[in-house]
């Protein structure tokens, strides 16, 4: 195991670090999640933390947040060794975390959310005090101002769009840390994974702001973004530190290689048309839904990947949901295999061979409490039946095959799906549909959301494979690069209207061409 350590490639910076991790190690049972990791963070520095899903990033962050206690190793703040017994200790020490999962109370106002930050550190009887709404509002206004947000603190968090919630999260993390501490460290755990591309600009401005008063640990899967915002980058692989690099001295390609341990496969995509003049699997003719989208024409052909791009609120998600039968159209028509459909529902869609991978994986895509095996066989279970009943043995065996085939880790299909990492959960969701022999249309709503580059690569190759197996794929991508990389057809939507259409067998649009029609 010392193999990696001896290879670890560390570029250090002179001066006393404000936060330093020394030989941190933590094990869960036989699993060593983080092994002998050391790195420093300096004043006013943005440090990127990257690694595949399961590389130990989240565990490391939880150690910094006082959730887990390391088995060995020390954390030093401004040269002094500290022990975090609970999240409060870490908050007080000036480490604020913006979690990957939202950590706001959706039923309360922004003011209350900010007021409850680090609450318990006040003396015991505080809970029996009056809640001073005025004071809470004013202090929230100040906290928001600090991060450059003009939100009204009286608004309920549940009524806010995602990007604004993220701002509140940051204000929250900042607020704790600036109470007492000179040099706060703000940890942003994949803050951009749920944001649309154009929204990340705002976040990058945020980070620049935070940098004026403290340091940042920035965790992200988007390597280009990491390169843009970070001063130095820490790379983890399999729980070990593989490199600490100055951003100015690496390329995204280097980082990918360090993370994965192998080079990125540069598939030269082909623009060859595989199919011609066939009846499309699905065809929309002037389809519309009042207030969401109107007059959409679209053809999903077997073996082709069609992507819709557009900003939030462009109506593209609604189009997908309507095709899958979750929502309905109220004008125009939809044809499946050349026949117009009348009573369309999710149930009929599935029997016709439609599959849907929703964007909100945790809420809509998986049943977290069920085992991975049961999630895979949730919809199509014919192959694992014995008589009238489902054979648990066949179920596990069939799941095992999928685990091998698409490299789902850890190889424990009987484990609850919620305990897998995001990338592996997404593979399970895909397996659920790919399992069907009659899969004819696959609708993917942000399939790469929150996945590390390695997992994204696997998922993309699964999508290509599905298309190669005569499935018509409809894709809503996270980034335009992703879409340009994989799609055969691109439709651009804006405010519920189709504003552009590109056939990649003929056209070679650039990101700019797409953006132009989007906004």
């Amino acid at each position: 195991m010392n193999l990696y350590r001896s290879k670890a490639d560390i570029e250090s910076v002179p001066g006393t670090p404000i936060l330093s991790l020394k030989n941190i190690k933590i094990t869960f049972g036989d699993l060593t999640a983080v092994n002998d990791v050391s790195f420093d963070i300096h004043e006013r520095e943005v440090v990127g933390l990257i690694g595949e899903n399961g590389a130990g990033k989240s565990t490391l962050l939880k150690i910094l947040a006082g959730v887990y206690k390391p088995n060995s190793g020390t954390i030093e703040l401004a040269g002094k060794s500290v022990k975090f017994r609970n999240p409060l200790d870490s908050l007080e020490a000036g480490i604020g975390i913006v979690h990957q999962e939202q950590s706001l109370f959706t039923n309360l106002s922004i003011a209350e959310n900010l007021e409850f930050v680090g609450e318990g550190k006040n003396k015991s009887s505080k809970i029996f005090r009056f809640f001073n709404w005025r004071k809470a509002r004013l202090s929230a206004e100040r906290a928001l101002e600090q991060v450059g947000s003009k939100l009204d603190p009286r608004i309920r968090v549940g009524d806010l769009p995602f990007i604004d919630r993220q701002m509140v999260e940051i204000a929250k993390a900042m607020k704790v840390s600036t109470v007492k501490v000179q040099n706060p460290v703000i940890i942003l755990d994949e803050p951009t994974s749920l944001l649309e591309v154009h929204e990340t600009d705002a976040l990058e401005r945020e980070i620049a702001k935070i940098k004026e008063i403290g340091s940042v640990i920035f965790v992200s899967h988007r390597l280009d973004e990491v390169m843009r915002v970070c001063d130095r980058i820490v790379v983890l692989r399999d729980g070990q530190l593989v490199a600490v690099k100055k951003t100015s001295e690496v390329t995204a390609r280097d980082l990918f290689q360090l993370m994965m341990g192998h080079e990125k496969k540069s598939e030269v995509r082909s623009y060859e048309r595989r199919h011609q003049g066939e009846t499309p699997k699905v065809e929309l003719r002037g389809a519309g839904k009042k207030g969401k989208f109107s007059d959409i024409n679209l053809r999903l052909v077997a073996g082709e990947i069609t992507a819709i791009v557009g900003t939030n609120g462009s109506g593209r998600e609604e189009v997908c949901k309507a095709i899958y039968g979750v929502d309905s159209f109220d004008s125009g028509s939809m044809l499946v295999d050349g026949k117009e459909v009348r009573h369309w529902s999710v149930r009929t869609a599935i029997t016709q061979g439609f599959g849907f991978v929703p964007a909100e994986r945790k809420v809509e895509g998986i049943i977290g409490g069920l085992s991975a095996a049961n999630n895979i066989s949730l919809i199509f279970s014919d192959d694992i039946k014995r008589g009238l009943f489902i054979s648990p043995k066949k179920n596990l065996a069939s799941a095992k095959e999928w685990f091998e085939e698409i490299d789902i880790r850890p190889r424990v299909p009987s484990k609850e799906l919620e305990k897998f990492s995001g990338g592996n959960q997404q593979k399970v969701v895909l397996a659920k549909w790919l399992k069907s022999k009659e899969l004819s249309v696959l609708i993917l709503d942000h399939p790469l959301r929150g996945l590390d580059p390695g997992a994204a690569e696997t998922v993309n190759s699964l999508i290509r494979q599905a298309a190669a197996n005569e499935t018509a794929v409809l894709l809503l991508g996270d980034t335009m690069e992703e879409v340009l990389d994989i799609a055969d057809q691109i439709i651009v939507m804006k405010d519920g209207q189709a504003t552009g259409e590109f056939d990649l067998h003929v056209d070679r649009p650039t990101t700019l061409d797409l953006l132009e029609k989007m906004v």
Binding site: L91, F116, G118, G120, S124, I127, F128, R156
Partner: protein, 333 residues
């Protein structure tokens, strides 16, 4: 659209939603009242209105406690038993057929403290031993019932002898029965605690997401224990009023109250999942149930049919009232 405008719009939309949501329930209550008044003019008489107010006092007081408990995502099933325990403690300390001693103000205080003690015990066991409130309070129901039965003993029923005390509940003050005054005070208190105390806001936070509350450093156990103790004290008050209305001490004074109180909270619009709802909404729920119950009796529906009819009307009323806040995802539980 600039930030100011967007802020305004978001707030207006939220305000409109919160204002219109209870309207459906108000509508149902008005319709029921009209129907009952048409079937018997007595329904609208002063006497019957006093009856309705007096009858709604206990469910209102219990409802406030239950609302708070449900908002933190727990449930208190113990109210029937705890009411019995409080009622017995109270009655035995007022002049009664067993003992003529008048302990004055000590009696109601003892009743309230008994309730608070049971509530504290539930809250403590639940948070320190990590047992679901459902199980703990189910046990506490029987513990309370047992405590009351021991106090009741083998001897004759203790009737209250001080007419001043036993006649307190329906007596009018400023045209409103005393019991209802008590309920009004409790509702105001509950509303105040929920909205203007740290305890109340922390309860909402915990009900919304306990894991987040934990990382925010909220003292979850302390909040939960406080809420259960408070709810217990309110149950104690309800037990005392129950005993006064009965005129005697009985371990069974709270019988059936759970099946009015929890539905009232839920009909009012407080989510059983916690974190959503409020004290004022529960008032509507209580009134709906009390009016339904009273109206059927006044309209002379045969007692054989009363439960059945009440059940049917209730279901229809709830479907109607909840229409406006049906879950967007179409999932019901």
């Amino acid at each position: 659209m600039d930030a100011q405008e967007r802020n305004e719009q978001t707030r207006k939309r939220a305000l409109f939603k919160s204002a219109t949501e209870p309207l459906a329930l108000v509508g149902v209550i008005v319709i029921l009242s009209i129907v009952f008044s048409l079937s018997n003019s007595r329904f609208y008489g002063a006497v019957n209105i006093h009856t309705i107010l007096e009858q709604s006092a206990i469910p209102l007081i219990l409802g406030v406690g239950s609302t708070l408990v449900i908002l933190i995502g727990s449930i208190d099933l113990s109210i029937a038993g705890v009411m019995g325990a409080s009622a017995m403690s109270f009655v035995l300390l007022t002049p009664n057929t067993r003992s003529p001693h008048d302990h004055g103000i000590v009696a109601p205080i003892a009743g309230i403290l008994t309730g608070a003690a049971f509530g504290f015990a539930s809250g403590y066991i639940m948070s320190k031993f990590k047992v679901p409130s459902f199980v703990v309070t189910l046990g506490m129901w029987f513990a309370g019932q047992g405590f009351a039965t021991i106090l009741y003993g083998q001897t004759a029923t203790p009737y209250m002898t001080n007419k001043n005390v036993s006649g307190w509940s329906p007596r009018l003050f400023a045209g409103i029965p005393n019991a209802f005054w008590a309920a009004i005070i409790v509702v105001i208190l509950g509303f105040f605690i929920l909205n203007f105390s740290k305890l109340g806001r922390a309860s909402m936070a915990i009900g919304n997401n306990e894991a987040i509350a934990q990382t925010a450093g909220l003292k979850i156990d302390r909040v939960k224990i406080s809420i259960f103790t408070l709810a217990g004290a309110l149950t104690g008050i309800a037990g005392i009023i129950g005993a006064i209305q009965l005129g005697s001490g009985s371990p069974d004074v709270g019988k059936g109250s759970l099946f009015v109180c929890v539905p009232a909270v839920v009909i009012g619009g407080t989510s059983l999942a916690g974190g959503r709802g409020g004290v004022l909404r529960t008032i509507l729920g209580v009134f709906l149930l009390t009016i339904l119950n009273d109206g059927l009796i006044v309209s002379g529906v045969s007692s054989n049919y009363q439960s059945g009819v009440a059940g049917l009307i209730l279901i229809v009323a709830i479907i109607f009232a909840l229409w406006s806040r049906s879950d967007k995802s179409g999932v019901s539980k």
